[in-house]
Amino acid sequence: MATKSLHKRDNALAQSKKQLEILSNGIFQNGELPTFKDKIAETSQFPLKAKPLEILQINVGYMCNQVCEHCHVDAGPDRKEIMTKETMQQCLEVIKKTGAHTLDLTGGAPEMNPNFRWFVEEAAKAGIKDFIIRSNLTIIRANKKYYDLPEFFKKHNVHVVSSMPHWTRGKTDKQRGDGVFDKSIKALQELNAIGYGMPDSNLRLDLVYNPSGAFLPGDQASMEKDFKKALMEDFGIQFHNLFAITNLPISRFLDYLIASENYEDYMYQLVDAYNPAAVANVMCTNTLSVSWDGYLYDCDFNQMLELPVNSKVKHISEYNEDLLEGRNIVISQHCYGCTAGAGSSCQGTVA
């Protein structure tokens, strides 16, 4: 398993341009498979248009304590892109006035941003209904300075959403690194101990499942049952919901698909499982993604592909929700990842 990001390894796929070329050439260029644009046009869903904003997702930096095999962010300890306090301040101005019901902080490991706690404290004052932090769990056990994170989350009534690829050690560590499973279990037990994830608790704890290889996620409800049963029986752990998320063919997962000679088969799987009903609710239509340097994107995936919003408003400093609404969503073939089967989003299935 690699311990450095694609960027650090000078891998060609660290460049978004190269990724977009791959996604536009080959089977999509020779007509074997339809482009995403042509596919959604079949059901008169092109162009996709932004609806009123519901979810404001802010990526506070690409630095992470883990180097997961399939990370779409290409995050890792060697990434230095970190949101500054100044950009956070600009985000806070937006958070105070947004119509979004959900604020979603992500990374990297968002907790590694030096101004993370200040930002959370300030953002929590805005009183947004659902305040999510995407925590990788191991960060809570990575260093003493993070041990009190569960209490910090609780104090600010933060909704914790954490990746957990499987209920077994082998599959989890294969994808996320040696020792990740044991640390994640410990972190989940600590979160449970202060009330997170308990059946009647308001302290929300959800898990994110994404497949460990070149296949699509199974039925979300069935997977949730299996996760709950296994984690309870083996470790006494409880959580609220499981979000089953499809791996999008970008960044490190694209690198894995190509290296393992699964790329074409995977794209066929995505296209074969295309579901127009998922297109209707795809997350880019109600979400806005803010990058570490304050630029705006339709989703976190477009952020990583450096495909900015198609709007006059490009940066958080010039934010205008009314102007952003109705914009045409920027698409490419990676979008098939969000429309396969029951659909996929940062909040799980959509159809």
Binding site: G170, G218, S222
Partner: protein
């Protein structure tokens, strides 16, 4: 014309069998879909049974399809291999239990 009997790409064309007999093809796929729905057995359990049977039937399409299907349902490698051993045990048991017939025949002819 393909130079091999099996082509992995044919699996995605399975649905095309309805083109030459729509009624029976559709009836088959309706039945197939219904069989694999959650019931007294979970869809996960059914998928593991299908994986074991795919091996005893030695159907390469089915092995591809149900290896992927079980992975999608979070089935582990250990569970998959155990399921195949169940199929193999029944297959070998079915061979060996006929040994009783052979023994009876020997005893009758040459006892």
């Amino acid at each position: 014309m393909s130079k091999t009997y099996y082509d992995p790409a044919d699996l995605r064309k399975f649905g095309n069998i309805t083109e030459w007999d729509e009624e029976l093809g559709n009836k088959f796929f309706d039945y197939y879909g219904k069989v694999f729905e959650e019931g007294a057995l979970t869809a996960r359990e059914k998928s593991l049974i299908a994986l074991a049977v795919a091996h005893t039937e030695q159907c390469p399409y089915c092995i591809d399809a149900y290896t992927k299907d079980t992975l999608q349902r979070g089935v582990t490698k250990e569970e998959m291999m155990e399921a195949i051993h169940v199929g193999a045990a029944i297959k070998s048991g079915a061979t060996l239990v006929h040994g009783v017939q052979m023994m009876d025949k020997v005893n009758k002819l040459d006892g």
